[in-house]
């Protein structure tokens, strides 16, 4: 029998639509995603049924099970200012380089004198540093955490006023929701008294409103 010659088909297929789709998705995720910043501790907050979203600009206080406090600020300009002022208050000399690095360092729980040293480290080495938490005092003495709270409250107000003024001058609409707010992210299994002590320091600095970060819970019913 004569051999049947199969027509040699080209095994390549047209991938253009797939590539289109893939790049579309890549672009979407690139533009919408916000990255999780490196955090010194993993904290598991409790759940609640609230639907209020976290404010745009926050001063984040992370409290772990042992009551160690870690701080972070989303606004880099204000963060730099607060850092300088707290260091000045406590009497630690800062170099311009470490202020710059501090704004991008994420959550930090160290006493201010050891922060410049920590900032010298590479990002990969930082995770190995055992952070002891920002020192605070439960008896009402003015601790480092107090100064962080105090200057953040002041600078948050200044920042808000400055932006409001700018918007007024340029006759632009002003977004009031950008006020830096105090957010507490605390470990669910931590004792309430421990969390209360940290909040107490902020209350001493005349911070009254807090937003407690919680995980999502199912819709409640009254019946």
């Amino acid at each position: 029998m004569p051999k049947v010659k199969m027509p040699r088909s080209n095994p390549s297929l047209d991938m253009t639509p797939m590539v289109d789709l893939a790049f579309l998705l890549v672009t979407f995720f690139m533009l919408t995603s916000s990255f999780r910043t490196q955090e010194p501790v993993v904290v598991d907050p409790p759940t609640s049924t609230t639907k209020i979203e976290i404010p745009k600009q926050v001063f984040m206080i992370t409290v772990d099970q042992q009551g160690r406090a870690y701080i972070d600020l989303t606004n880099p300009a204000v963060k730099a200012k607060v850092f300088e002022k707290v260091a000045n208050q406590v009497g630690v000399k800062l170099e311009a380089e470490s202020v710059k690095k501090f704004t991008g360092a994420g959550s930090i729980g160290l006493k201010i004198s050891s922060i410049p040293e920590y900032l010298e480290l590479e990002a990969s080495e930082r995770t190995n540093v055992k952070q002891t938490g920002v020192p605070y005092d439960t008896t009402g003495k003015k601790s480092e955490l107090y100064w962080w709270a105090y200057y953040t409250r002041l600078e948050a107000h200044n920042d808000f006023k400055a932006r409001e003024e700018e918007a007024k001058q340029r006759k632009l609409p002003f977004d009031k929701s950008n006020y830096i707010q105090f957010v507490v992210k605390a470990e669910a299994d931590a004792k309430y008294d421990i969390v209360k002590h940290v909040i107490q320091v902020f209350r001493d600095a005349k911070v009254k409103q807090f937003q407690m970060i919680t995980g999502l819970e199912a819709e409640p019913s009254l019946k």
């Binding site: 893939a22 409790p46 209020i52 976290i54 309430y192 969390v195 009254l222």
Partner: protein, 211 residues
């Protein structure tokens, strides 16, 4: 990377006839697709989608020493919640006496929520009534809506249902958030967390209750 026509590089070159090479217009997109999907996977896995949710808590300014010495007014018919260790919770009505009986409940729907719904039924009925009227209103009726909103705030203001929350060393942060959340769900208008926690008598009563 343009696709290269097989130019007889392999073992089957012997039998191939020499033909004029037709240049193909196809571009091999495999590496590009690889890259695109790699990036896609990366972004899908690293991006955080939902923003965290927050529960608002307002703490009053710290009292000065003179104010601290003033005794807090006694709540006659209030509800007091006592949060203690091992996720246990007790409540009692009215003022505290050595004979007060603590009632144990839990954080479930049939425990704490039921107690709070029963306690707050007056306000809840009022609010439900307002909600019903609000649903009947048309979207454009802003004046009517504002009036109903005012009705809600005034109903909350005159509400006599007060809940006090006290904790001891054993209560966790989760317990407190759970209680706050229940207050939101059951629309309790007035609740206070006592800064100093439980009184000694309350601790003693819990101890007696547990034995």
């Amino acid at each position: 990377m343009a696709q290269i026509q097989e130019s007889g590089g392999g073992g089957h070159g012997k039998h191939d006839k020499k033909r004029a090479k037709r240049s193909s217009t196809h571009v091999d997109m495999t590496p590009m697709v690889d890259l695109a999907f790699l990036l896609l996977t990366f972004f899908v896995l690293t991006s955080t989608f939902s923003k965290p949710k927050v529960l608002r808590m307002i703490f009053p300014e710290k009292l000065d020493e003179k104010q601290q010495q003033q005794k807090a007014p006694e709540v006659k018919d209030g509800l007091t919640l006592l949060l203690t260790n091992n996720d246990k919770i007790f409540y009692y009505r009215g003022s505290l006496k050595p004979t007060t009986e603590l009632i144990p409940i839990d954080y479930s729907k049939n425990g704490l929520r039921k107690v709070l719904v029963d306690y707050n039924s007056d306000l809840l009925i009022k609010l439900q009534d307002v909600q019903k009227r609000l649903n009947k209103l048309s979207e454009s009726d802003t004046a009517g809506r504002r009036k109903l909103e005012e009705e809600v705030t005034s109903a909350q203001r005159v509400s006599k249902q007060i809940v006090l929350v006290k904790n001891d060393e054993g209560a966790t942060y989760r317990n407190m958030i759970d209680v706050m959340d229940e207050f939101m769900i059951t629309q309790i208008a007035k609740y206070y967390v006592i800064d100093d926690g439980m009184a000694k008598l309350e601790k003693d009563l819990i101890k007696k209750q547990s034995n």
